[in-house]
């Protein structure tokens, strides 16, 4: 069982599949996430692949404060992911609600709804910081 776990960890660390979900963001962080996939920053060199469905994803990358409208969908996506799964909150809004704290349609940061593994603050987060955060998460997966 220990060998199997080691192989799975290796596979996950070598090529984590990511699903990206915007829970009500202004789009700035989403664009920086996309930008980090373009050649200049090239997140893909870490073997990271952007997937469309939660069923095959290891990492859920979330941007935006959780709005009342997206809360349920966020929970559903999280529940559809197979264990072990990790959640990355990208941007100050995802970390805490950011500038929208206290707005009547905003619940709060991602962790007000689902558990978060890594927080990457920024408004928006620079692509370098996204890469840094994701690499740190991968590093912690190894152990």
């Amino acid at each position: 069982m220990a060998l199997f776990k080691k192989i799975m960890t290796w596979a996950r660390v070598k090529s984590p599949w990511i699903i990206h979900f915007n829970t009500g963001a202004c789009n700035a962080c989403d664009i920086e996430i996309l930008a980090s996939l373009t050649p200049r920053y090239d997140l893909e060199r870490f073997g990271i692949l952007l997937k469309g469905t939660p069923r095959h994803a290891d990492v859920l990358v979330c941007s935006g404060p959780v709005t009342l409208q997206t809360k349920d969908r966020l929970i559903r996506i999280y529940e559809q992911m197979a264990e072990p799964k990790f959640v990355v909150a990208v941007g100050t809004c995802a970390c805490s609600g950011g500038a929208f704290q206290g707005c009547y349609c905003v619940r709060g940061g991602i962790d007000s709804v689902i558990p978060v593994s890594a927080y990457i603050p920024g408004c928006p987060v620079r692509p370098e910081a996204i890469i840094d955060g994701v690499v740190k998460l991968l590093g912690s997966l190894k152990s």
């Binding site: 699903i19 990206h20 979900f21 915007n22 009500g24 963001a25 202004c26 789009n27 700035a28 962080c29 989403d30 664009i31 920086e32 996309l34 930008a35 373009t38 050649p39 200049r40 469309g52 469905t53 939660p54 935006g64 404060p65 709005t67 409208q69 997206t70 969908r73 559903r76 996506i77 559809q80 950011g98 500038a99 929208f100 206290g102 707005c103 009547y104 349609c105 905003v106 408004c123 928006p124 620079r126």
Partner: protein, 403 residues
């Protein structure tokens, strides 16, 4: 009519998702389309009443992460008008330089997104690579890639020094050269033209009927541009062309945007060359008197409209924000109806909508087949790319390999 819910995408089979777009199909054509949005509603206008004007600048910037300066400037102009505050010309020039840089990054972003929707990923990579030049400039001038925080009541918070102006001019030269390629692609690349021509048609009459604005309106030959019609900031001091096109379709909207880039380069050069000396801000009161003002701004997507009412305190009585996408939304159903399902992604993308990709859930109803299914954006995009390959022989991979 028996309805079967066939969910495609990240949602639980038993629960029905509220769809952003509901399409009713007859065969492969869209017979009727309903648009319903609201995922991004956070409650900004109410929050504005509970915060001070200065705090509101930072909140309003974040209404949209692509045209944040548009919102910030539109808001602050209204506030300054209520307070009868006249800013120095230098501040107006700086606001305009940032505004044009924002337009450039936004149009390049759009070009990449449009390319991606079509399967023309090479265009996505090129335009976003070029866009990084603009992001670097914005970071140099304002300290951030987005949400620049450059505005304050009475002017701007940072000056543009000579070295920065020189950097900017050099970068604009590079961008102008690269943009010539995009104009060539939009006007001469037959595969792309075949894909975009006659798609998402919106006639001149319909632009007026539905109240469309920005490149969507200009692509139908209507020369509406707030920088020209109701000038603000430094636009009375520069000369530029209002770019229009007569295709009145997605191809037209593409051509308008790439040609507008050239105008923006010219405007920035004029602004930096003529920038007057002077203070970058004037002293502003914390309490804004009773009064009201309307402010209009030509954002990359079209007219951004702000209404502000002051009540003599540090906090506004009312702030109303009408982003350009909302004005263009009324026309969307009309543009999609009568067209192919395969055209939906690019038609929606062509108004350059300001809502996130994952919000765009579509409910597809086959009127003749009695079937209803839920589709996510990615699936529809893939369907669209395949459809055009199979039915029209338009294969984006042919041009993905070019250059």
């Amino acid at each position: 009519m028996a309805k079967v819910v066939v969910p495609i995408g990240p949602q639980h089979p038993a629960l029905k998702e509220p769809a952003s777009f509901t399409l009713f199909l007859e065969g492969e054509r869209v017979a009727a389309a309903n648009v319903a949005l609201g995922y991004n509603h956070r409650g900004v206008e109410k929050a504005c009443e509970q915060r001070t004007y200065i705090q509101d600048i930072y909140l309003i910037e974040r209404v949209c992460g692509i045209c944040s300066h548009s919102h910030s400037t539109a808001f602050i102009q209204a506030v300054e008008e209520i307070a009868a505050l006249e800013i120095h010309k230098r501040a107006a020039y700086i606001r305009s330089v940032i505004g044009e840089l924002e337009r450039i990054h936004s149009h390049l972003l759009w070009l990449g997104v449009a390319g991606h929707e079509l399967g023309f990923d090479t265009l996505f990579m090129y335009s976003w690579r070029d866009r990084e030049i603009v992001m670097d400039l914005l970071a140099m001038l304002t300290g951030n890639r987005v949400n620049y925080g450059i505005n304050t009541i009475g002017g701007v918070r940072r000056d543009i020094v000579k070295e920065q102006a020189d950097e900017t001019l050099k970068a604009v030269d590079v961008l102008e050269e690269r943009t010539k390629y995009y104009i060539k692609v939009a006007t001469e690349e037959s595969t792309l033209i075949a894909r975009l021509a006659n798609v998402g048609k919106l006639s001149k009459e319909d632009v007026v009927r539905f109240g469309a604005t920005g490149p969507t309106a200009r692509a139908a030959g209507i020369g509406k541009d707030i920088r020209h019609d109701d000038p603000y900031a430094a636009y009375t001091d520069v000369t530029f062309n209002v770019i229009t096109d007569d295709h009145a379709d997605v191809l037209g909207r593409t051509i308008v945007r790439v040609k507008e880039l050239m105008e923006s380069y010219s405007i920035i050069r004029q602004l930096l060359k003529k920038m007057p000396d002077g203070p970058i801000s004037v002293k502003a009161p914390r309490k804004i008197p009773e009064g009201e003002a309307v402010s209009r701004y030509e954002a990359p997507r079209g007219e951004d409209f702000h209404y502000v009412r002051g009540n003599g305190s540090e906090k506004p009585e009312r702030v109303k924000v009408r982003a350009p996408t909302l004005a263009n939304l009324a026309a969307i159903s009309h543009m999609i109806e009568g067209g192919y399902l395969a055209d939906v992604p690019i038609v929606i993308a062509a108004i350059d909508p300001c809502f996130s990709c994952t919000d765009r859930m579509l409910s597809i109803n086959g009127l003749d087949k009695g079937m209803e299914s839920l589709m996510d954006w990615e699936s529809l995009r893939n369907y669209s790319i395949e459809w055009y390959k199979t039915n029209r022989g338009i294969d984006m991979n042919k041009i993905n390999a070019l250059r």
